[in-house]
Amino acid sequence: MSSVQEDVERTVERVARESYGRLVAFLSSHTSDLASAEDALGDALLAALTTWPRNGVPQGPEAWLLTSARNRIVDHVRHQQVVSASEQTMRLLREHASQGQTATEFPDERLKLLFVCAHPAIDSSVHTPLMLQTVLGLDAARIAQAFLTSPAAMSQRLVRAKAKIKDGGIRFEVPQQRELPPRLDAVLEAIYAAFGIGWDEIAGIDQHGRDLAEEAIWLARVLLKLMPEQNEARGLLSLMLHCEARRAARRGTDGRYIPLSEQDPQLWSLPLIKEAERYLAEASRQRQAGRFQLEAAIQSVHAERARSGRTEWLAIVVFYEQLLRMCPTVGTRTGYAAALAEVNGAQAGLAALDTIPTETVRSYQPYWAVRAHLLQRLGKADEARKAFDWAIGLTEDPAIRRFLLEKRG
């Protein structure tokens, strides 16, 4: 491959990575037609790969892609000879076309796109895949892998969701103040669902193997940039950065799993912790604790061990108590029980676990890992082994499986 071709490919890749979501959002914001916008942008990216090596990379590559994609949409609309609604689109597109070409001159509509992806009319299991595809440009096969579903099924779900957005005329808009809180929650949830780690404490980890931490953090940064007044967005970003900071410490040199309580704080990323702390401090100034701020606060207490050498479990219990009032999920209740055991003893932790309805914990691995750990501490060997078996049987990650097998003995 010639070096020109390589340069061009790198540029296309970079522009696609940085601008994909902005371009899709802008191209679809007036039509609610995500599929056409993505197709047009895909064509434009392909055209760039053949045109740019010949004519050189344009000064504003983003604007070039926008013009090229827009022309394709206009051609397509003309071809279909669709009137009314499309008329307006064409007029808007033409207007934008005449208003100069620099990349910074088209509005950033990604916030509206995020709200569309997590719209209540769209099945909540598709919110995150839709965001990953339309805002970040991930392909369906990669998303399917992250969500452990078949690529064909994932493609189908995405196509169906986009058809619903277009046919249902779901509008690209930021919700009114009145309906903002629940709508924002859905966006935050969808971003968090890409992250892949729900819970990571003394004896286990709730890891979905998503491997999309980087993407989730990127989305949270986009959201915070577009809604700087939303402290829960800050809380979410802080939470994810805290968990991400511990990535290197979660595995030993031989690949073995190391639970949080046994991690060497030296291996935690200080810059990430600092950044996480900064967002949490900014958020807490407003004194409106939300779910993600509380979860970030818990992680912040854990991070404190890097400085103090100890974990302030009582503070964690207090944060969990607040969190339980807000969202008593099985993850929160398990985390609370684990923290309570550190303060009031294993028996208290076990009692807290016992209050969780059995049917909700059957396939929740961290519950069984914590239960096994507490039973073992109480010397109830037989019951502990049974709980360990459940935890092991529900584990996907071989390193965590090995860790639990060794603990079980």
Binding site: L148, T149, S150, A153, G209, R362, S363, F388, D389, W390, I392, G393, L394, T395, E396, P398, R401, R402, L405, R408
Partner: protein
């Protein structure tokens, strides 16, 4: 919905069958099996003997062809199967991902063809 989980293992995983009772792969399988049974989704299944012990039979041009060894000449070989009853393919994939063999081989998840069975068995 009933799914067959066809379990493929590497030669190393097959070799580990010779190890003693404390073998971690065996331990992981024991826990996994118990969890699948306790979860109430287990319909049936069995491990298979090592691939070398397989014998492949076909009739070609009216003649019997008998070969030593497994049907497919691949590195990872069919090691066993498990039939589970779960609500969806996604649920079946989740259980497949938890199987210890998924980390050292692969699992193929396929729906049981009840309709074909009905046409055959009547």
């Amino acid at each position: 919905m009933q799914f067959a989980m066809l379990i493929y293992e590497s030669p190393e995983a097959f070799d580990s069958r010779k190890n003693g009772e404390s073998d971690p792969y065996l331990g992981a399988w024991r826990a996994y099996y118990r969890t699948v049974v306790d979860a109430g989704i287990y319909v049936g299944g069995n491990p298979l003997d090592v691939p070398d012990t397989g014998t492949t039979v076909r009739i070609k041009d009216g003649k019997r062809l008998v070969q030593d060894g497994p049907y497919a000449d691949t590195k990872e070989q069919l090691a066993g199967f498990m039939i589970v009853d779960v609500p969806s393919l996604d649920a079946a994939l989740e259980w497949a991902a938890r199987c210890p063999a998924a980390a050292v081989g692969a699992l193929e998840v396929r729906l049981i063809a009840h309709e074909t069975h009905r046409r055959i068995a009547g």
